[in-house]
């Protein structure tokens, strides 16, 4: 097996901790700091219910909530270095901390704990902000440098772990979840209409914007340095691709597949580091099956796998899940998502996403992390990220077909390919070639549009704005969320291959803004579970971004190189199956038996009028259509879930009803 440095130098050791946790803090001056920190961290105690710690100095304060799995006396936080000048509150994992610690020890550094947190303190002491480039992990942290009077906030490259901030009266406040910031006197929840419009177009706010006006998200791969009188923000890493006309990667396909296999194995190995068993999510698709297969080979005591299944056949993948679990001989558990289950937990889901959403897909994952929690497993590997990194989404194929059709807009043959792309959408299969061409914008002549790949999705989603109130439309007059997104693309974007442009849009915006947050960290952490993502190891991401596009999307076969790398690890039925996107019932989830009082309340005339965001009459008709189980189109589903979640957001955070009861 080909294994180039530095992977070959990594040492196999089983040690360390699983630290499911959250933190909060401030830089500046506050009254009764300890009480404030206690209140802030009390809001995110689900991220770390076992232990809390606080640190207060003259200019800064940090609080930490920790779930201790072992080593109660070894890794408490906030952690102070031996000089007493550096203090850190840390959330996440540095997966290569063993190697980093060995290097530091070789340079004469002494360690008081066996935790990765202390590694960061030493690295910062040696290198300052540059230490971030050495970290392989999913992390967010706040590091207070007493000598230099500076607070450093940092976040991992892909945006796995969250970090939010705001300022009030000259003091900077920050926390792992926004609900902690709402405990700061004078900071309250007001929905940002621009963020709402971004969600109703792009599915997620564009960071640093959040759904809360005036509260920001630290962007992935960025670091904020706050010092008296000034605050600086910079990216320490960029997702990048070679120019489109550059010669393809010199690697031959076989060599590339071999290197990818080695890289992925190492990414999984690092993410199996924990002093408790690490489980694995298993969707039945290629990505999670591959991760689980690699993990099973490194878990001599056996692997626990976890799946969501649905009682609706169009969403269910349980046959593939069972097949893969049997092949792995894993201890397999499934949470079944039945009619009514999503509606039952949806208010809780929004309390954790802290933003309106237009799909219900996070809800089953909320229940899944609950199942994991019941088994005692605290960390799970997932296949998330592979679709972004190796071009797995249908959207990438769709863009390729649209470009192919645009070359001969009059062709009556080419649009047939759209049917091949979406075999699971029966309404699309019934359409004429002419309608297919019209729906996918063939002949619109926008092939040089930087958002070309995503226009149909953005347009379909934006249809839900039909339900905006007149006041909201007035407020948003002149604003275009897609243009806003386009204005934030890097200068080199236009030089990239079209597939890489599409991948960038997914990986840089939707991945952290929705997949890793609303579907990822927030759903897992709601039950104190830590997700680990081998495909988002930055070495894997960087390797994949350098691969020629045709190694990722070969013709209309997605993730080609990944399939080749996985060839001898997976059953043929798993390896060769086309991608089935993870989806859950949307509006139909709210039409089952039982009286859903909260839905009726949220969508009722009074609540809609109080929110002021939507047209009450139109919402009433949409609700009626939903009750009749006739809301089958994408726009109507997106609108229903988007409006309901916005109303729930208001109730949870904006003072209408701080405590939403779970629906019966």
């Amino acid at each position: 097996m080909f294994l180039s440095r530095p992977y070959a130098t990594l040492v196999h050791k089983r040690a360390g901790f699983t630290r499911v946790c959250g933190f909060a803090g401030y830089f500046g001056s506050v009254g009764d700091a300890d009480a404030l920190l206690r209140r802030m961290v009390g809001e995110i105690v689900h991220r770390g219910p076992d232990e809390q710690g606080r640190f207060v100095s003259t200019q800064a304060g940090l609080a930490h909530a920790r779930l201790s799995i072992v080593g109660l006396g070894d890794g408490q936080q906030p952690m102070v270095d031996e000089t007493g000048h550096l203090t850190i509150a840390f959330n996440g994992e540095i997966f290569n901390y063993v190697e980093l610690r060995d290097d530091l020890r070789a340079r004469g550094r002494r360690f008081r704990t066996s935790s990765d947190t202390e590694v960061i303190l030493h690295l910062y002491d040696e290198m300052g902000d540059a230490c971030l480039s050495l970290l392989n992990g999913d992390f967010a942290f706040a590091l207070w440098d007493e000598r230099r009077h500076r607070m450093m906030l940092a976040r991992d490259r892909m945006g796995v772990r969250p970090l939010f901030y705001t300022s009030k009266g000259g003091t900077l406040y920050f926390a792992s979840e926004i609900k902690a910031l709402l405990k700061v006197p004078g900071i309250s929840a007001t929905l940002d209409p621009i963020a709402l419009d971004q969600i109703f177009t792009l599915w997620a706010p564009i960071a640093p914007r959040t759904a809360f006006a005036g509260i920001h998200e630290l962007e992935p791969a960025s670091v904020m340095i706050a010092e008296p009188g000034r605050t600086g923000l910079k990216h320490y890493w960029q997702l990048d691709y070679p120019p489109g006309d550059a010669p393809g990667n010199i690697k031959q396909e076989a060599e590339a597949a071999e290197e990818l296999r080695a890289l992925l194995s190492d990414a999984v190995r690092l993410r199996m580091r924990a002093d408790v068993p690490v489980g694995s999510y298993l969707s039945g698709g290629l990505d999670s099956s591959l991760v689980s297969a690699l993990a099973a080979g490194m878990a001599p005591e056996g692997l626990k796998t976890f799946s969501v299944s649905f009682d609706s056949p169009e969403h269910d993948e349980s046959a593939y899940q069972r097949q893969m679990a049997a092949a792995l001989h894993s201890d397999h558990r499934t949470v079944v998502c039945r009619e009514g289950d999503i509606a039952c937990v949806f208010p809780e889901v929004i309390r954790f996403t802290e933003r309106p959403i237009i799909r219900t897909a996070p809800a089953p994952l909320y229940n899944l992390s609950g199942l994991v929690r019941e088994t005692g497993v605290k960390a799970v590997l997932t296949g998330e990220g592979a679709d972004e990194v190796f071009a797995g989404y249908d959207l990438f194929k769709e863009a390729r077909v649209r470009r192919f059709c645009a070359r001969q807009p009059a062709s009556r043959i080419r649009p047939h390919l759209f049917r091949k792309l979406y075999p699971y959408l029966p309404n699309l299969r019934q359409q004429s070639v002419e309608f297919l061409a019209a729906f996918f914008g063939v002949g619109d002549g926008f092939a040089d549009d930087p958002l070309f790949s995503h226009r149909p999705r953005f347009k379909a989603t934006a249809g839900a704005k039909l339900f905006y109130s007149r006041e909201l439309r007035e407020q948003l007059k002149g604003y275009d969320a897609a243009d806003d997104l386009a204005s934030r693309l890097p200068a080199t974007f236009r030089t990239w291959h079209p597939l890489h442009q599409a991948q960038y849009l997914e990986a840089r915006f939707l991945l952290p803004g929705y997949i890793l947050s609303s579907q990822g960290d927030r759903m897992a952490m709601a039950h104190g579970i830590e997700g680990r993502f081998p495909f988002l190891d930055h070495r894997v991401v960087e390797f994949a971004s350098r691969l020629p596009p045709e190694m990722k999307l070969k013709g209309l076969t997605e993730k080609h190189i990944l399939r080749r790398a996985a060839q001898d690890l997976l059953p043929p039925a798993i390896l060769e199956r086309p991608k089935q996107p993870y989806q859950a019932p949307d509006s139909l989830a709210f039409t089952g038996p039982g009286d859903l009082d909260y839905v009726n309340d949220c969508l009722g005339e009074k609540s809609i009028a109080a929110g002021g965001l939507f047209n009450g009459e139109a919402v009433a008709k949409l609700h009626q259509k939903c009750r009749a189980r006739a809301t089958t189109g994408f726009r109507d589903n997106a609108a229903f879930v988007g409006i309901l979640s916005t109303q729930l957001w208001h109730r949870a955070f904006a003072g209408q009803d701080q405590q939403i009861e779970k629906a019966a």
């Binding site: 309404n427 002419e434 309608f435 019209a438 379909a460 249809g463 139109a618 189109g633």
Partner: protein, 87 residues
């Protein structure tokens, strides 16, 4: 007759696809697809409406934007179909 058909089509579109929002009704000759009013599901709903309300049969070959992508086109299509039936 065409005016009556046009009114009925417009009303159907307002009620079914615009949820009563008359402010969003496009001009008679504006594309329903480009304005985000119909998608692949809505086209099928539209066909069912035409068949049931006007008692005409819409063949597979008829389901094309040239017949169904604007209020004016839908109205003209219904009228021509109705005439063919009457003849």
């Amino acid at each position: 007759m065409r005016e009556t058909i046009s009114v009925e089509v417009r009303n159907f579109i307002v009620e079914t696809f615009l949820f009563g929002d008359t402010a969003s009704v496009p001009a008679d000759d504006a594309s329903l697809i480009d304005n985000g009013i119909i998608d692949s599901t809505a086209v099928l709903e539209l066909v069912v409406f035409i068949e049931e309300r006007f008692d005409i049969t819409v063949g597979d070959a008829d389901i094309v934007p040239a017949n169904l992508d604007s209020i004016a086109r839908i109205s003209a299509f219904i009228q021509s179909k109705a005439k063919a039936v009457a003849a």
